[in-house]
Amino acid sequence: MIDKTVPSLEAAVAGIRDGATVMIGGFGTAGMPVELIDALIATGARGLTIVNNNAGNADAGVAALIREKRVRRIVCSFPRQTDSWHFDRAWRAGELELELVPQGNLAERIRAAGAGIGAFYTPTGFGTRLAEGKETRVIDGRDYVLEHPIRADFALVKALRGDRWGNLVYRKTARNFGPIMAMAAECTIAQVDEVVALGDLDPEAIVTPGIFVRRVVAVPPRATQPAGTAAAARAT
């Protein structure tokens, strides 16, 4: 029988070793799997490459991972924010490498990894410093840059509900990078507000089919929202 649910956050993140590449879902704090990140911090794994849209907000989640000096390299589109102080400090101190990727190329490169595409030509970034040194090509009179897939060893995503097969549905704009990161990692780990019985999710509305998910852990939402959501969002 297939049962991808695991009993604890500790079990969920087991096996993430030093030097691993870890995708982390979320756009700012919406969809950020904060509890999985805390569990990752607790493992002590260092020298991580993190793929996320941002580079942390305030003191929780990806920001905490940077504060605890677990990150060697970050691949993201928008590190600088009003509350990205841990990233800002670490970057200025030269403690981490940054690969800056236009957001749509970031999304498409992650999807390409999940979809088995070897590389693709995108118009985004052509003629800019983010395409320096990259192969270009004119196709039908338009300029394109060749971009390659971004793969990961692990993906940590946050979803609303999941089942024992690993099927997931998300909540509103917290969907963001979850579905494509789930496709692009060897081992995708989902924290969900609620685990439901197999068959309870509408097969027409499942966003991430279970084939892309290895582990599911239930993390009931707290009565008060975690720091860095509505309030922090207004500030950024």
Binding site: Q103, K172, T173, R175, A233
Partner: protein, 213 residues
């Protein structure tokens, strides 16, 4: 002469958005356009973090941390809205499905090159977000900006000094002094503030400007 206020610029942009248009409003000044959309037009707003049919900010106390815009501010979803993931959202953009994208800018060149993502300062922490995708990802790109920098230099330039966001992408520029179209034949002034002569606008801008016929 009387410069356009930010709200006047926003209202002017809004007036140029037709009924039924799919529109992305960039972070900063462009966000203000939403407040001026004509009530008799149905305009569908896209936010690149995965929502089409974005509505206004919720009343205080009704914020949902999972319903935010690209600037990470709380918004709402209108009836008819849909949610999708980032690859689908940028496919929507890159695939040319949006009618209009409104963006802020540091500079726009006479041929429509856009600089709006990086000041070029060597110690600045870079961040690009969706800027490069947005600049390419709409049938028309409208730029909103002050016409001049604080020290009086034109932000409409012959060639960009700032790092490029995208080449030849801007359709129309809305400033506090004028509305300028980027055409194959060069820049064309569509409108200017009262009391500002064309010759004076051209002098301030520092690049050739044609007058609209």
């Amino acid at each position: 002469m009387k410069r356009y206020t930010h709200d006047q610029i926003a209202a002017r942009v809004a007036a140029d958005i037709p009924d039924g248009a799919y529109v992305n409003l960039g972070i900063g000044l462009p966000t203000r356009v939403a407040n001026h959309l004509p009530r008799d037009r149905e305009i569908v707003l896209h936010t690149e973090n995965g929502l089409l049919g974005m509505g206004p900010a919720p009343p205080p106390g009704h914020e949902d941390p999972d319903v935010i815009n690209a600037g990470k501010q709380p918004v709402t979803a209108l009836p008819g809205a849909s949610y999708f993931h980032h690859a689908d959202s940028f496919a929507m953009m890159r695939g040319g499905h949006l009618d209009i994208c409104v963006l802020g800018a540091f500079q726009v060149s006479a041929r429509g090159d856009l600089a709006n993502w990086h000041t070029g300062a060597p110690d600045a922490i870079p961040a690009v977000g969706g800027a490069m995708d947005l600049a390419l990802g709409a049938k028309q790109v409208f730029v909103m900006m002050e016409h001049l920098t604080k020290d009086g230099r034109s932000k409409i330039v012959a060639a960009l000094d700032y790092p490029v966001t995208a080449l030849r992408c801007v359709s129309r520029i809305y400033t506090d002094l004028a509305v300028v179209d980027v055409t194959q034949g060069g820049l064309v002034v569509v409108d200017r503030v009262d009391g500002l002569a064309h010759a004076e606008l051209e002098r301030l801008t520092g690049v050739p400007l044609a007058a609209a016929r």
